[in-house]
Symmetry: C2
């Protein structure tokens, strides 16, 4: 048995991109969103047809993290799908919500595709968004093998690589590799706000790269950070302490300490896996 | 009168790239470096011939910042060129050295092409390195018009855009748009050093972009930061304070403060000029 019919709940960037990926593989995709315009745009892009309550094999819940639990509860009450997954960028909170709301955890596989763009909404969606990207799956003890199998099939149909990881471990991980770097990029970009015009004329590709993700939607990122506040704060404290120490060392003329930070940066950078081949650099 | 013969002193990445650019335009280029291997590699790349004391129109001093003054003094003593420029990434220090060593400031135009790569050395050089990039020129009150004209011609032959700016203003500017962002990228990358393997498996393009420049040579950057310590420290203090405040706000659940930083980041990012067309994104 395989995914023949899927439901995408929330036709923003991620939901619509998943729908487009599934459509390319011949899956029947139903779409729903509280925003009628978003569904219309997704339909016009060929992402699927409007959902009118049909049963599906897998429901992909692509709504903001704080709404995942209640959408899951509602869909399960309808018996909409045989298995459910979500795409929220944090996992402990949505899982806690699902438990609190009495959701069936057997058919739910918490997920998170590590993909995105600076633009949001269905018009920015594309089928290749997940190609070669990691897609975290956080099954719990209760999760049924069949639900996990269906969700892995979704990941595979989207061209992504499944990475199985515990929910708490996931949230610490994305704090380290995504959420804290986003805030750090924002702080570097914020320092430019009052810079002299001539300074900005001297900007080069290095600055563009460091600050690229700082162009992301502040309200979307507010929600992401709110859902992962403590792990992100822990990483930010370490980065802030390193930068404050570097400033002090520069003032004192103690370049050894600064050089040590630069060396640690080279080592840390070396741990990042190379980009998947053929992926456009700036998504 | 135009540049017919040039001398490149220091055949590293920048010097050799300038030499290759001048060669493409038919300029006769002489090369010298204290490292004989570096000159040999540059020659084999077609960057020019070894210098044996010939007079030239313009000497391009492409040595580390703390050596610019003494090389300028030595070249002027020989009467090697009609005009001299350097490419050091800081300007106040080399100019002070030149004054202290009694250099002729009439024929010297302090310069700084805003271009680079993570790799260093002549083997990483390429003629197109400066295409479309800003190239800061910091002439002083004494600078002769003819020296400035020759240096502007160098910039033009390299395909770069001259930006005239005072030396102190230049150093504050590059602290803001280059040196402090480099240290910030290093601090983000350093935070990955002890991360879990699974966390690094979840890394995406955003993290790659934020940390790309952290791969730069620590000893080269040590010298750059040493030559611009106080302006860099001032910017780093502001970034560190913003990140520490963001961490506190996240712990307190005060998302408004964090959202304000994200918004300031969007505004600051919006001030960066777009990349020149056709330039490869990751140099």
């Amino acid at each position: 048995m395989t995914i023949e019919k899927a439901l995408v709940v929330g036709t923003g960037l991620i939901g619509t991109s998943a729908a487009l990926s599934l459509r390319e593989k011949g899956v029947t995709v139903h779409l729903t969103d509280i925003d009628e315009d978003a569904v219309r745009v997704a339909r016009e892009l060929g992402a699927g047809r409007e959902w009118t309550g049909e049963d599906v094999d897998l429901a992909v819940i692509a709504v903001p993290p704080h709404l995942v639990g209640e959408r899951l509860a509602a869909l399960q009450k309808q018996g909409a799908a045989r298995a459910y997954t979500d795409v929220a960028s944090v996992k402990a909170g949505p899982i806690a919500d699902a438990e609190r709301l009495g959701c069936d955890l057997i058919s739910y596989v918490p997920g998170h595709p590590l993909a995105g763009r600076e633009r949001s909404g269905p018009a920015a969606a594309r089928a290749g968004l997940f190609a070669g990207r990691p897609w975290a799956l956080c099954p719990g003890n209760e999760t049924a093998a069949e639900a996990l199998r269906l969700t892995r099939e979704l990941v595979s149909l989207c061209g992504a690589e499944a990475v199985t990881v515990g929910a708490a471990e996931h949230d610490s991980a994305v704090a380290l590799v995504s959420h804290a770097p986003h805030v750090a990029a924002s702080a570097v970009a914020a320092s430019l706000e009052d810079g002299e015009d001539v300074a900005l004329r001297l900007a080069g590709q290095g600055l563009r790269d460091v600050t690229r993700i700082a162009a992301g939607n502040p309200l979307l990122w507010r929600k992401i950070l709110a859902g992962n506040a403590l792990p992100v704060a822990a990483v930010l404290d370490r980065i802030a302490a390193d930068l404050a120490a570097a400033a002090s060392a520069l003032r004192a003329g103690d370049l050894d300490d600064v050089t040590d930070l630069l060396r640690r940066g080279v080592d840390g950078h070396g741990r990042i896996p190379a980009a998947p081949a053929g992926r456009p650099v700036a998504g």
